[in-house]
Subunit: 479 residues, 2 copies
């Protein structure tokens, strides 16, 4: 018998009952609880920590929204759901869920207004940089690769990072507002409750949750549905080994302690399917300040591998998954700046040949790469990786330096993207594509919009959007 499943027949006692039991109080859980309660369901939230917020409250607070939100318009940017859809389908990894993506892009304007209605403040100003965590209180930011190759040729760029108005770390503010909204409504919140089992009927229906509370066990009957919003699995080494082993090497694991895959495991034990479990967001913040984009990133063969001006969420994925985490940012004296995120200078040399010797690269490899780069850079062109002219300049002024961008020696920030299969209303699906009655999910416990590459704000965004849909669906299910 799985420890994760309790047969309904053996669960003779319930400590508490509700129509909808939401497991987890991050952005997806809060959104699900708000909508379930708004839909008239008696709603109970079980949160394993001492208070709500989860990983969402540790984040930069950016929500990826667009299609012409009030904020985009106020800042003078044009956008449409169609351009947003085209960009996200192209930039979110191979084979993202088209139906979810379509709904999300079409519902994004309304989602922004909903956040305003929940008391989340946004300042109607645009931050000039590109970031998932802008250092100002500006409300709008480019938080992806919209203006860079190959995406600028695919969809009209617009900034879509919507950031609650707080300098540094808007995530806590976002979650403070959303948790306050839950607390101010009819839903009940039970902190320090860690879900350990689902209660399941012989026909597969999920009818309740068992939770551990300070060593005691309590059982919660869910008359209409259980919504799993427990986060990803970046803190579960065994699950990383099983699905995304390279991510274990990352120095920064982005997630609250609860991101140990517990909800994904509960769903699997109940017969759910999972997808894209190998997908990971990996940020390599190597090109800040932005002038460092004028450097070139090279691998262990001294070869370039990406347009260095692309979003740092892409840089990490390429460096770790496709180049084994062997990377250095090469600069000359003219473009040298002290990096925003401190990193070692791995080598310095008066010539490219000296630098490549210092780095232990094959003789002539960096020379060949720099030679080709500089030849085109004379005309501010980069036909090899299509970096934009503003970041292309010949690297010819000695001394040359190499910043350590290896996975061992620098910041790689990772979290998982794969999880339970759900339909657009958060119904958890079995491998035959059928919903498991009574079981819903949203947020990083599920496979969402991004299935391999990353734009900042997607997880808060789809957690909120599909969390709301899951809450509504559970609330309207027959008891």
């Amino acid at each position: 018998m799985s420890r994760l499943i309790r047969p309904a027949a053996s669960q003779t006692h319930w400590d508490e009952e509700a129509d909808v039991v939401v497991v987890g109080l991050g952005v997806a859980g809060a959104s699900a609880a708000l909508e379930a309660a708004a839909g008239g369901a008696d709603t109970l939230v079980l949160e394993r920590a001492g208070g709500g917020g989860g990983t969402s409250a540790m984040s930069g607070g950016v929500l990826y929204l667009g299609g012409g939100t009030r904020l985009q318009k106020a800042c003078g940017f044009e956008d449409s759901a169609e351009e947003m859809f085209r960009y996200l389908m192209a930039s979110s990894g191979p084979s993202p869920d088209e139906a979810k993506m379509r709904l999300y892009c079409e519902g994004s304007v309304e989602l922004y207004d909903w956040l305003l209605g929940r008391g989340v403040p946004f300042k109607e100003t645009h931050y000039f940089g590109v970031s998932g965590e802008p250092p100002t209180d500006d409300g709008l930011v480019f938080s992806g690769s919209e203006r860079h190759h190959p995406f600028r040729e695919i969809a009209a760029p617009a900034p879509r990072g919507h950031v609650p108005a707080k300098t540094h770390q808007a995530g806590p503010l976002l979650m403070q507002k959303l948790v306050l909204a839950v607390e101010s409504g009819p839903a009940r919140i039970a902190n320090d409750h860690r879900a350990t089992s689902l209660v399941q009927e012989p026909d597969g229906s999920v009818i309740g949750v068992v939770a551990a509370v300070f060593g005691e066990e309590r059982a919660f009957r869910a008359r209409r549905g259980v919504v799993l919003t427990t986060g990803g699995f970046i803190h579960n080494d065994a699950m990383l080994d099983a699905h995304a082993p390279l991510a274990r090497a990352c120095s920064v694991r982005v997630g609250a302690d609860g991101d140990d895959g517990s909800g994904i495991q509960l769903g699997l034990a109940a017969g759910a399917d999972v997808q894209h479990m190998d997908a990971v967001s990996i940020s390599l913040p190597a090109t800040q300040p932005w002038g460092l984009k004028r450097g070139i990133l090279i691998d262990a063969q001294g070869q370039r591998f990406i347009n260095e001006d692309t979003y740092y969420g892409r840089l990490g994925e390429w460096a770790l998954l496709h180049r084994g985490g062997r990377a250095w940012l090469i600069v000359d004296d003219a473009v040298f700046e002290s990096p925003t995120y401190p990193r070692e200078v791995a080598a310095v040399g008066e010539t490219a040949a000296e630098l490549e010797r210092e780095l232990g690269l094959p003789a002539g490899s960096l020379e060949a790469t720099l030679g080709l780069y500089n030849r085109h850079a004379e005309r501010r062109e980069d036909p090899v990786f299509h970096k934009l002219p503003e970041s292309v300049t010949p690297l010819t002024t000695p001394p040359f330096g190499a910043f350590d961008c290896t996975v061992e020696g620098s910041i790689y920030a990772a979290f998982t993207l794969g999880g339970l299969c759900t339909d657009v209303d958060g119904r958890v699906l079995d491998p035959g594509g059928d919903p498991i009655p009574g079981l819903y999910g949203a947020g990083r416990a599920t496979s969402g919009l991004s299935v391999g590459s990353y734009n900042s704000g997607i997880s808060l965004g789809d957690g909120c959007f599909f969390g709301r849909r899951a809450g509504r669906a559970a609330a309207s299910a027959s008891g």
Copy 2:
């Protein structure tokens, strides 16, 4: 209610009973059935096709065995379980299962003798080439990258591809012998039976299988256990999209029709965990005849990306997963040969510059790559990717040519490696790491020895080895 699970209470009629029901009759199913029957269990095999064999019978028939088999010794090769273990741990993708690998390497000599005992013939001669499908009836072959960088520096190389004695396609012979062995024993075989559901108790125990037989439904009680040996999912587009989307682009899907993931789905619906579902074997047979290893493989940036002399199972993985399937094999007139697997000449040029223009590569990119390669090749060295001296020669004799090795234009042969989580005795595990009572699995329906990269013979090898263990474990389970 999942269509894949039948509650035990609703299954009031059984058409047939057995101690052990094996689902599928490829190499894993045959091995499981033989050992279950040898263990005294009344054994029934359900095969969805009109006869046994499955994908195993469509394969090259190579089994990856070593550690000093009788065949290795007869051919004059030294090997040890330890060297085999070191090689496989290094060459089988990130984070392979160490416990399974250890047992497999230590049990490999016995497995070879067991195959002999089942009537599988091996000729005690060594084939000089490297291949998963040698064109002779020689019994022993290098079927991986044992002699190549970086593995030659990690473990003492030995040929470990053990091939039943038949010219071309030893797979049918292997399966003919194993199916004959099953038929000659006490186990019963029911062909044309496609398993559609597992029958499960409320406590999670699997007690039977429902199968479709020419449109009729039949129910089979399994008193001791069900063994899922149903193969991988290379023919299931939705599962590929969900787990390994890039594999969909491959022109050759290696698998019998039954490789649609049905057994993995049955296991998931019963509450099993899966792992490494993104792992795929991708062969790119671009360097045959072997003289073509003297060419260089380049990507869309005109850069090399691998030592071209490595096993073709590695070439495909690197080209597709890490270079987007954009690859060309560049040769000069001196090393030109007609390829074994016909492929288009994508471009010809009197100079590297002309060739790169023809291919649409960035100006100067191929020139830079060839310049660096030739500089070292003068001394038969390749410090960039460590191709062995025998395949390193300057490419300087015009005209130059580029063979099309793109995923759209050439042969990429793929099959899936991920699947159900099992322990070393084939017990299918739930996400908590506990066995699901009554459920076993082996072969490509499970995650086996290879979790990302591939050596030919691993799937037949681990299917046979862990199929036998699963059969024994199921036979000895209490009814």
